[in-house]
Symmetry: C2
Subunit: 412 residues, 2 copies
């Protein structure tokens, strides 16, 4: 962390920064059941006027209708937005031309409610793929949400975007700059596996009351996402609907004009990093949060390639589940990743325990490493020995029989 | 299949072709237990004199000592070999300079026993990573195996190379050429997951009594491996020890001088294809053998990329386990693969049931598709709609809680 920037947690989630209101309501998209007769399934986040906006979208070529609409709107508005509307329970993905029309009408309805132009609305959906989204239910939901908008609405919005998440995810911080001014960054997110009975998607909605121009905001968001939302994995899958939006209201009066501004970066990192790790901790069937730290890579790309291969390896993830300090699987995953790798210079550590040092096994430390692996949070470090100094850090979870159970059940 | 080539199954496995003998013995590398006091763990396959040889090795950069030695020998002998020696129970991988010396001595001992030069011996190992291999046990094993060599030795050799395999894998065919001559192709293989308590590796040993020059044999083997051993996956992992060897004795008197000779290709395909699919059918925790057929790809590389992504997707594999005709997961995996993909032209079929046609869902056929998925063998077909005519076919298995159980158990 930059020495001159101070960060502290505050309450309020996505509405902690000044200039934002939010609401979460139930409009009948999620299945109603006796235990939960009115599950929250529509969230609305609004600003007083159109503000700077940035977004990062799924790289999946099978993109959902809301992703197409949000991308278009952000481009048409030159990086401005006044509202975000989100539904859970239906992904509006693989729904063809009719689905695209529904996503557009969803934006138009939110624009009416928020008093802005349609292209100042960002839209997101998460849930079942291939099922039509009812615009009638959405309209009812938007009307109700607009009436419920509040500066304390983050909690309801955070719950309304959940699908299979075992817990809601929100975070806000106050950032004090080097010259003593302060602004806030807040956010909410959802995500557990890509799909559970066809439920999908990671969504993240971030806000700040710093004043940041759209191009700077976009560059800062892309940079932060690379080390947070794009550095996590539950099952290696990438959804049709993933997106992260960031709005900057400017209401704090603190102007930021560089995308590498330490205060803005630290604030975004604190919120996005927390939300991203919470997604992994609540991953389908997950019992452990694991940091994979790759060092000694010849290139930045190699570092990420090795980290991603290790973080997604079923054999590594099952060993993590079983608490087995099986360094051979880490070496094998790094070796097959495609990254430059030198077996006789490579090393592996489980927590602080060096199990494999410059090509030499230290199995005598297996009991010590097994003890480390009993914790709920573990770091595994792999040095590729490739003669470079590039590094990458990813977060993953263990792979349990519960993951298989969740995802093998026939959807009903 | 080529219309003028006739193939029929014969007995004899790797010793079915003329000119080969084999043996499998117990020499104390695998753990002995009351239920199995003398588990077979060393196999020897020999020819009367040095013959044409070809090999395909792991692409993992963490290569085991036997892979290094076999690659060197094949190069030094200009593609000739007179013996293959294999042990199971210890991979001799991540064992440093000492391990390399053991692999060399293992080849030298086999050369003495077979009466050939050391560089005419191919070596393979499978089992625990990072544990020293006892050359004393290996020498005892080689002496016993040399005394037991027989033209009926394929069965014992096939069992001696197993680690976690639920069943042994062998196959032989007689190939009749267009002009009525005949030769044989045989083989044995092992492989289940990459690792089970650090047990590793896919191994395949193929033989033929056709007369084929080394360069032609190598080209034919590489070609066949691409559509067989390299077209399967259990868990997406690639071992430190994988190898496939092919020896051609010439004892049938049938000379083959082109690497695309239909008789040679059909014979190799029949044996290698069977063994490869048997590895998947016996994959760790597997209950189903699944063919993934990708069509409509813009390039050959795209076809394989999409097939490999689908075949390794945890969400696809858990849906296969649960018998859930979840076409959304297939679309999402194809979309994230990196291959060119057009959602509104893409199609998905489960067996003969079209679930998604040119971008339009057909969920009304879900029950029909679920019925198809109850079988032990299933084909799933995905057309990428990318405007090309390239295709790829891979074999995978389902992902079960049993896989997690096998691989999460702490090795003891």
């Amino acid at each position: 962390m930059s020495p001159n920037v101070a960060i502290r947690d505050i309450a309020g989630g996505v509405t902690a920064p000044k200039g934002f209101r939010a609401a979460g309501v139930s409009c009948g998209i999620k299945k109603r059941n006796p235990a939960n007769p009115a599950p929250l399934d529509l969230a609305l986040i609004t600003t007083e006027r159109a503000v700077s906006a940035a977004a990062v979208f799924t790289t999946n070529k099978a993109v959902a209708a809301p992703v197409i609409v949000s991308r278009d709107h952000l481009s048409q508005s030159s990086g401005h937005a006044a509202a975000i509307v989100v539904n859970a329970g239906c992904a509006n993905a693989c729904t063809g031309a009719a689905g695209l029309e529904v996503a557009k009408q969803m934006a138009a309805a939110a624009a009416s409610a928020a008093g802005c132009d349609a292209d100042q609305v960002l839209v997101a959906s998460t849930g079942v793929i291939g099922v039509p989204l009812s615009i009638d239910k959405i309209r009812v939901g938007i009307t109700a949400a607009a009436a419920a908008l509040s500066e304390n609405g983050s909690d309801a919005a955070m719950r309304a975007i959940m699908t299979t998440d075992p817990f809601p995810k929100g975070k806000a911080v106050s950032v004090q700059t080097a010259d003593g001014r302060s602004f806030a960054v807040g956010g909410i997110a959802k995500g557990s596996g890509m799909i559970e009975p066809r439920m999908a998607t990671m969504l993240g909605f971030l806000t700040t009351d710093a004043a940041v121009a759209p191009a700077v905001l976009q560059a800062a968001l892309s940079r932060v996402c690379d080390e947070t939302f794009n550095a996590i994995t539950v099952d290696g899958e990438c959804s049709t609907n993933d997106c992260v939006f960031l709005l900057a209201s400017g209401a704090s009066g603190v102007a930021i004009d560089r995308d590498d501004d330490p205060a803005l970066m630290e604030g975004l990192r604190a919120v996005a990093g927390h939300l991203a790790r919470e997604i992994v901790r609540g991953g389908e069937g997950a019992t452990k949060l694991v940091t994979v730290h790759v060092t000694g890579a010849a290139t930045r790309g190699d570092a990420w390639l090795a980290a991603r291969t290790i973080a997604n390896s079923p054999l590594v993830k099952t060993a993590l589940h079983g608490g087995d300090p099986n360094w051979g699987r880490l070496v094998a995953a790094a070796g097959r990743s495609g990254a430059a790798f030198s077996l006789d210079k490579a090393s592996v550590a489980i927590g602080p325990v060096m199990m494999f040092v410059s090509g030499v096994p230290h199995d005598e430390r297996a009991d010590e490493a097994a003890e480390v692996m009993k914790a709920k949070e573990i770091t595994i470090a792999v040095d590729l020995g490739a003669g470079g100094s590039h590094a990458a850090k990813m977060w993953t979870c263990d792979f349990s029989a519960e993951y298989v159970r969740i995802n093998a059940e026939y959807r009903t």
